[in-house]
């Protein structure tokens, strides 16, 4: 098998390779437990929850909209309010939105994968159209006119041609919304839109600017106690014998909750809990298991793999006159939310309530119920915001920790927050990956054949059972750990965006899933797309260079998707690509493009860098991006996401790498895991939106991660003449590459 052979060549001779095909992959989605579709013909999450009153309720108090998705700082609340307001034709302020709560909202699985607008946005837009249609029918009956003779007033009512009006609230009393949605309820005409497509200021921002209650961290319940979980410094370590008496002797310490290896200290005051934790940590730590493979961060990718062909088009090897081949990699990366994970849990009268910033309240409920041995209906998980969520961080684990502590102290709400070093040490990481590409170019400089291979650990460790929570592995008896599974294509996990969007006469791509990983791995924003797009888009530049072609023209020549071409053209035009400054050994420009998952947003990024020869320091002078996210609900909200994605991906790609030695993760704080600060971020970032009203919503939250990293690498290569293929493009590496 050629993949295996080349893999040996790629990842080092002598590697033990056990390659086998799984056939159809084990059923697994990003996030595991997703609800089952019952109405496949309906848009978005109506497929799984088709009844209208699960989404929208209208009563004398006004309109309430329910979503199973969670606000992660991506602005989903505002966007969903806009969507509902548009098709109900009311002011956004008239809508109350209830987000992910197992006691109140539809089960929409996980808020991840840039799915929120596709799932919940499409469901609510359609439900709103259905509700308006039903209200219009009721109004028509009441006013004795035909439904299509009625016009909405824009403030929650209908108006008949003769000027008579009727309010939604009055109609709602006699109307049941406990009916299934129809797929064909008419939407308001595009030309008449009042809310959708406009910049609505985010509803969550004012409280965040003024010290309002905005996060689960800010929740204060009567009688609440403060807790800290007691663990070794990072995954795979444990503290030696705890000096329980010393901790309990500290004034204000209420309890040391212990169950197997799980321990949490609970105190009246938060600072007391912190001090007690520090006292307990004096025990020192050890690593009970086998040592980590310190040294080469890619070494673990040589482990036994499950292999799958994810693309195989065109027959036979096309004739090429020139072959280009390269290997790319990225290290382990950290989410590193600024606020360590936090949860509040309260066990009273046999009912456990957990306030959490998880991405999936329903799957978490199942895992916690198992952990604390309660029936699912005795556990309620309510989402409240946390600090930045870029995937599966400590949110679920800390909820499990808080739940265990709360079970030991019935009647007292427990607020448990991780320490910074606990978040750095225990959160699941985005895994290391490598990709190899080989292409042959024909005489005309076109790519005739394409071979792509990617090696990756899991991107899906989200909890479905108690064994998916840290505490579940620590209690006695422990729960069985979850076995990582690949996420199937077309979305993919490590192979997300592993199929190049370009049209090649002959192309084959293989995904290698390596189950056994040295560090804890799970979903980090864009999963494998970050590395795969970095690899493919770096390689497209390498091919363009080999063909003597302009990088943008070379991409366009290999594309058939008109929307892709339009985004590239817009980005190139706004950047001034045609008249860009030519590389002078110091300044350079780079371009990259991808359609996220090949089925969500189209995103192109162009940027200009300056490389400081003496230090290898790369400064990004300016960034221009173009995005097609389909029907854009809130253009400024979309720009905010793309800007943020670009800046974050530049930090990942330029600076970041989780380090570890034989015993533990050594990236324990911001001094050991530096990320971009104000002096490191670009001079400017511009985002241009290509709006396509009336087309489906395309997820955009992760669309920039891959293109931004690739554009950076391409610009550095342009500036210095040296191609760097291993992330991060740190000053040390750049300096080493450009030499003295």
């Amino acid at each position: 098998m050629s993949e295996t052979l080349s893999r040996r060549g790629v990842l080092g001779a002598g590697a033990l390779v056990v390659a086998f095909s799984l056939g159809p992959r084990a059923l697994a989605q990003e996030g595991g437990a997703a609800p089952k579709p019952v109405a496949p013909g309906l848009p978005g999450s109506l497929k799984t929850t088709p009844m209208l009153d699960a989404w929208i309720r209208v009563d004398a108090d006004g309109i309430t909209v329910f979503t199973g998705k969670a606000e992660l700082g991506q602005g989903i609340k505002t966007a969903l309010i806009q969507v509902a307001a548009e098709d109900l034709d009311v002011a956004p302020a008239a809508i109350r939105l209830v987000t992910a709560d197992t006691g109140r909202t539809p089960n929409e699985g996980i808020t991840a994968g840039s799915h929120s607008m596709q799932d919940s946005g499409a469901a609510i837009l359609n439900a709103a159209a259905n509700v308006r249609m039903l209200l219009a029918e009721a109004a028509a009956q009441k006013l004795g006119v035909a439904p299509d003779a009625l016009a909405t007033t824009g403030d929650g009512g209908f108006k008949a041609p003769d000027g008579r009006t009727v309010r939604y609230a009055d109609l709602a009393a006699g109307l049941s919304l406990h009916v299934a949605a129809r797929a064909d309820a008419p939407h308001r005409p595009l030309g008449a839109r009042r809310t959708l497509g406009h910049d609505l200021p985010r509803v969550d921002i004012p409280a965040k600017l003024t010290g309002g209650v905005a996060y689960v961290h800010d929740l204060r319940l009567p009688g609440m106690l403060h807790a800290r979980v007691v663990r070794g410094p990072s995954v795979g370590t444990e503290l030696k014998a705890l000096d329980e008496a010393a901790a309990l002797a500290m004034p204000g310490v209420v309890k040391l909750v212990r169950n197997g290896r799980f321990a949490a200290v609970v105190a009246e005051r938060e600072w007391t809990a912190v001090q007690a934790l520090q006292r307990l940590q004096q025990a020192g730590w050890r690593r009970p298991g086998p040592p980590l493979p310190a040294g080469d961060p890619l070494a673990s990718l040589n482990g036994p793999s499950q292999d799958e062909v994810i693309q195989d088009v065109g027959a036979g090897a096309a004739a090429g006159v020139r072959t280009v081949q390269a290997r790319y990699s990225r290290p382990w990366l950290m989410h590193g939310a600024i606020g360590p994970s936090c949860a509040v849990a309260h066990f009273q009268d046999g009912q456990l309530t957990v306030w959490t910033h998880t991405q999936g309240v329903f799957p978490l409920r199942g895992a916690i119920a198992q952990l604390v041995k309660l029936a699912s209906d005795k556990v309620r998980c309510i989402h409240m915001e946390g600090a930045g969520c870029y995937g599966h961080n400590g949110a679920d684990d800390v909820a499990g920790d808080a739940a265990l502590a709360a079970m030991a102290l019935p009647g007292r709400p427990i607020r448990l927050q991780w320490m910074r070093e606990q978040e750095h040490g225990w959160e699941p990481l985005g895994c290391t990956q490598a990709a190899q590409i080989r292409a042959s170019l024909d005489a005309a400089g076109h790519i005739a054949s394409w071979r792509f291979e990617v090696w990756s650990h899991s991107h899906n460790g989200r909890p479905v059972t108690a064994g998916g929570l840290l505490a579940g592995l620590e209690v006695d008896p422990p729960f069985a750990p979850q076995i990582p599974r690949p996420i199937p294509m077309p979305e993919g996990g490590g192979d997300r965006n592993g199929v190049a969007i370009y049209a090649f006469p002959q192309a084959r791509a293989v995904s290698h899933f390596i189950e056994k990983a040295p560090l804890r791995a799970s979903a980090l924003r864009s999963l494998g797309a970050h590395l795969n797009v970095f690899a493919i888009e770096s390689f497209m530049d390498e091919c363009a260079k080999a063909a003597g072609a302009d990088p943008v023209a070379f991409r366009l020549a290999h594309l058939t998707d008109e929307r892709a071409k339009a985004v590239i053209a817009l980005c190139a035009e706004q950047f001034g690509w045609a008249s860009r400054r030519l590389s002078d050994g110091r300044r350079g420009t780079g371009f990259a493009f991808a359609r996220y998952k090949n089925l969500a947003s189209y995103c192109a990024v162009a940027l200009e860098v300056e490389v400081e020869h003496e230090t290898g320091q790369v400064s990004v002078r300016r960034v221009v991006s173009a995005i097609d996210a389909g029907d854009v609900v809130n253009p400024d909200g979309l720009k905010n996401q793309i800007e943020g994605g670009i800046v974050q991906a530049l930090s990942w790609s330029g600076l970041e790498a989780v380090t570890f030695d034989a015993d533990h993760r050594t990236s324990f704080d911001w001094s050991a895991y530096p990320v971009a600060r104000f002096r490191d971020v670009p001079g400017s970032v511009q985002v241009h939106v290509l709006n396509r009203p009336g087309t489906p919503f395309l997820g955009a939250g992760e669309a920039a991660q891959g293109p931004a990293g690739a554009a950076l690498a391409n610009a550095v290569a342009d500036a210095t003449g040296v191609r760097l293929r291993d992330l991060p493009l740190s000053p040390e590496r750049v300096k080493a590459a450009i030499g003295i």
């Binding site: 992660l72 700082g73 991506q74 602005g75 985010r202 969550d204 921002i205 004012p206 409280a207 965040k208 600017l209 003024t210 010290g211 309002g212 209650v213 905005a214 996060y215 961290h217 800010d218 204060r220 403060h226 005051r269 938060e270 600072w271 912190v274 590193g336 939310a337 600024i338 606020g339 360590p340 946390g386 600090a387 930045g388 870029y390 927050q417 320490m419 910074r420 300056e610 002078r621 400024d636 909200g637 905010n640 996401q641 800007e643 943020g644 994605g645 670009i646 800046v647 974050q648 704080d669 911001w670 971009a676 600060r677 104000f678 002096r679 971020v681 670009p682 001079g683 400017s684 970032v685």
Partner: protein, 159 residues
């Protein structure tokens, strides 16, 4: 008893004197603005002003703040009547998750109090201690420029 002046008001507090100001602000005074980010003085999420200067409240014992003027983001304005920086952050929609933002505003306030029209390099250097992980930096910079009456599209001086 420690008498702590926060946002112009004195509070008599019966708390252990070494308690970092952050915990007193959040738990005793129920002010949410300052956030626990690292407890190590590395990220700035807990930034408040003490006698006008930006300070990490996670590493400032409350006894060290007694007798001095502590200002938190709550002291700059409210949702209804936002302060200049708060309004600028709102106008620029300069937040994603927003966890770092109260600290950002307080550090920026300390800069603008001392230097009402800072250069781009001065703004970036001053804001260096505060981390944002969502990548909202460009909007935060715009908001600071806006509050300072500078053109929102600041340019770094050519190297």
């Amino acid at each position: 008893m420690i008498v702590l002046n926060v946002n112009g008001r004195d509070h008599s507090l019966d708390v252990p004197p070494e308690t970092p100001l952050l915990y007193v602000l959040r738990n005793d005074l129920q002010l949410n603005g300052a956030k626990f980010g690292c407890g190590l003085g590395q990220c700035g999420a807990c930034t408040v002003q003490v006698d006008g200067q930006a300070a990490y409240s996670c590493l400032l014992p409350v006894s060290a703040a007694a007798g001095r003027h502590v200002r938190t983001v709550e002291g700059l304005g409210t949702v209804e009547k936002p302060g200049v920086l708060q309004r600028a952050f709102e106008t620029e929609q300069a937040a994603q998750c927003g966890y770092c933002i109260a600290g950002m505003i307080m550090r920026a306030q300390a800069l603008l109090d001392a230097n009402p029209r800072p250069s781009e390099a001065q703004i970036r250097a001053h804001m260096q201690p505060n981390l944002c992980r969502c990548g909202t930096h460009m909007r935060i910079l715009r908001a600071i420029r806006r509050a300072a009456g500078l053109p929102p599209d600041g340019k770094m001086e050519a190297a």
